[in-house]
């Protein structure tokens, strides 16, 4: 009984999130009318998390460089550090770290804001006023995070590569020039139909999907909140937990689609 309740609960939650995402897609034509709200949300999500992305991205690049550099140095291949840091940041670490930070900061804030509106009758008021809450509350948040995530991913990638270079030069005796050359060379793998290198655009594509997932899950959790402050807390926790799970699972499938096939 307990297992079935859990499974049916998960199915219901997934169904509600998919339904909300479908509702957002059906209202994309309303984006121009919501540009002021989208800009406001974009500012909130991008500018206000930039310092976190810079700090975390810098140290992630340093960790990747140090971990791989120590092993590569044992076999005399430390010249390849730039390649490994650049590829791992662009393909995986940049989009994943950015999305995780967005889930913890912006996604949780979305769930808390909308959840508070739910428990204080603001959502009921919108419903009584026949105001489409998907257009007013969800669409601007989803679009803004789909724009913010790739922008922040580029920042995270760049600062990560710089951090890796700092470690390579100071701790692994790899010259700055050699590090940068190998990093840029690694990212020159030509793409078939885009002017960007494949590792860069595939990472950006992932980040757009992650942005949509974080926003939809955050908004859906908020819309389902009930039961006062406790309910808002539950919604916020669910938003972060479900976003990170969704990011990891979708990351695997996107990697498989983009690289395995």
């Amino acid at each position: 009984m307990g297992i079935w309740t859990t499974i049916s609960g998960l199915g219901l939650a997934l169904g509600l999130r998919l339904e909300l995402f479908g509702a957002v897609l059906a209202r994309l034509h309303d984006v121009p009318r919501r540009r002021a709200l989208i800009a406001q949300e974009l500012y909130g999500s991008a500018i206000q998390t930039l310092h976190v992305i810079l700090l975390v991205g810098l140290f992630i690049g340093m960790i990747v460089s140090l971990q791989t550099g120590i092993e590569l140095a044992r076999i005399g291949q430390q010249d390849q550090i730039g390649t490994i840091v650049a590829v791992s940041m662009a393909r995986e670490m940049g989009p994943f770290i950015t999305a995780t930070i967005l889930a913890a900061t912006v996604g949780s804030a979305m769930a808390a804001e909308i959840g508070t509106m739910s428990v204080s009758d603001e959502l009921a008021a919108l419903e009584v006023l026949s105001i489409d809450r998907v257009k007013l509350l969800v669409l601007p948040r989803v679009v803004s995070l789909m724009l913010a995530a790739p922008l922040l991913t580029v920042v995270c990638d760049a600062i990560g590569v710089l951090g890796g270079g700092f470690v390579a030069q100071s701790q692994l005796n790899v010259s700055w020039q050699l590090y940068i050359d190998s990093a840029l060379e690694a990212l020159r793998t030509p793409a078939q139909f885009l002017p960007l290198p494949k590792d860069v655009w595939s990472g950006l594509l992932k980040s757009v999907v992650f942005g949509a997932l974080v926003a939809v899950i955050g908004c859906a959790s908020g819309l389902q909140a009930h039961g006062g402050a406790l309910g808002v807390g539950r919604a916020t926790r669910a938003a972060v937990r479900d976003s990170i799970i969704a990011i990891i699972i979708s990351n695997y499938f996107m990697t498989w689609l983009l690289y395995q096939s």
């Binding site: 509106m117 009758d121 009921a124 008021a125 009584v128 006023l129 105001i131 489409d132 007013l136």
Partner: protein
């Protein structure tokens, strides 16, 4: 108040409505009606489903059994578009005002017009100003955020928002809750003024006797999910019904 209009047809009608939450039956065969232009006050002990009645009337809740009819239609059985049309005829003042916390006073009142009409910004501004004047909000407060205004002001702004689409029916959920006697009196006068000036049909869920005496044409006393008593205010407050006397206490005012 004695302006009841017995000849007017019912605008809102509850027929044997049943509603339960878990094992608790809140409404248990509730039947009553509100005629056009009438103001019905609903009174009763806490937890007897007074606010639930209002939520049924706007289709926020569905009855487990029985029928809720508003303008001859059942909100719970309407398609979303039909429900939206019906809701445009209804204004709802929530207990705390339910203002959108990231919009200013002015934008809160303008919201239903911006979202649901093709009016120009100038036309919207004129209507918003008119309704904010009606509820006596000073111009210098128009650009304040909900967090910067008092509880009484929030309710008045909530009422202006409820009225801006010029509804035929206005539902008030405890308009005096949490307000001091002076502000309560001004809200009660406002409710009466709205009813007289705009000719709305109203339901007011309220505990305070002073409010009911000011605004109501009839009072419905709710007990155990049913309509226990429905009388004009004068007869209601002089009734010797033992349950009502027990509820009102020795000093009803």
């Amino acid at each position: 108040m004695s302006s009841t209009k017995p000849m007017e047809p019912p605008v809102i009608r509850f027929e044997e409505v049943v509603k339960s939450f878990g094992t608790q039956r809140v409404l248990d065969g509730l039947t009553f009606e509100v005629r056009r232009g009438q103001c019905l006050a609903i009174m009763g002990p806490s937890g007897t489903g007074k606010s639930v009645i209002l939520r049924h009337a706007v289709g926020l809740m569905k009855p487990d059994a029985g029928r809720v009819l508003v303008e001859g239609q059942e909100p719970s059985k309407l398609k979303p578009r039909e429900l939206a049309v019906l809701r445009k005829k209804i204004g709802f003042l929530f207990q705390e005002g339910a203002l959108i916390n990231w919009l200013s006073v002015r934008d809160n009142v303008a919201l239903p017009l911006r979202e649901n009409t093709r009016l120009s910004e100038a036309e919207i501004a004129a209507k918003v100003e008119e309704k904010l004047d009606l509820v006596r909000i000073a111009k210098q407060s128009f650009d304040k955020m909900p967090s910067q205004i008092s509880g009484g002001m929030k309710k008045r702004v909530g009422l202006a928002r409820a009225l801006v689409t010029e509804p035929e029916i206005v539902l008030y959920d405890e308009p005096n809750a949490g307000l001091d006697p002076e502000i309560s009196a001004s809200i009660n006068d406002l409710i009466r003024e709205v009813q007289v000036r705009l000719g709305t049909t109203s339901i007011v869920v309220e505990h305070r006797v002073a409010c009911i005496k000011t605004v109501a044409d009839e009072v419905l006393f709710l007990e155990k999910g049913r309509a226990h008593l429905q009388l004009p205010p004068k007869e209601f407050f002089s009734s010797s019904d033992p349950r009502l006397r027990q509820f009102l206490g020795p000093n009803p005012d």
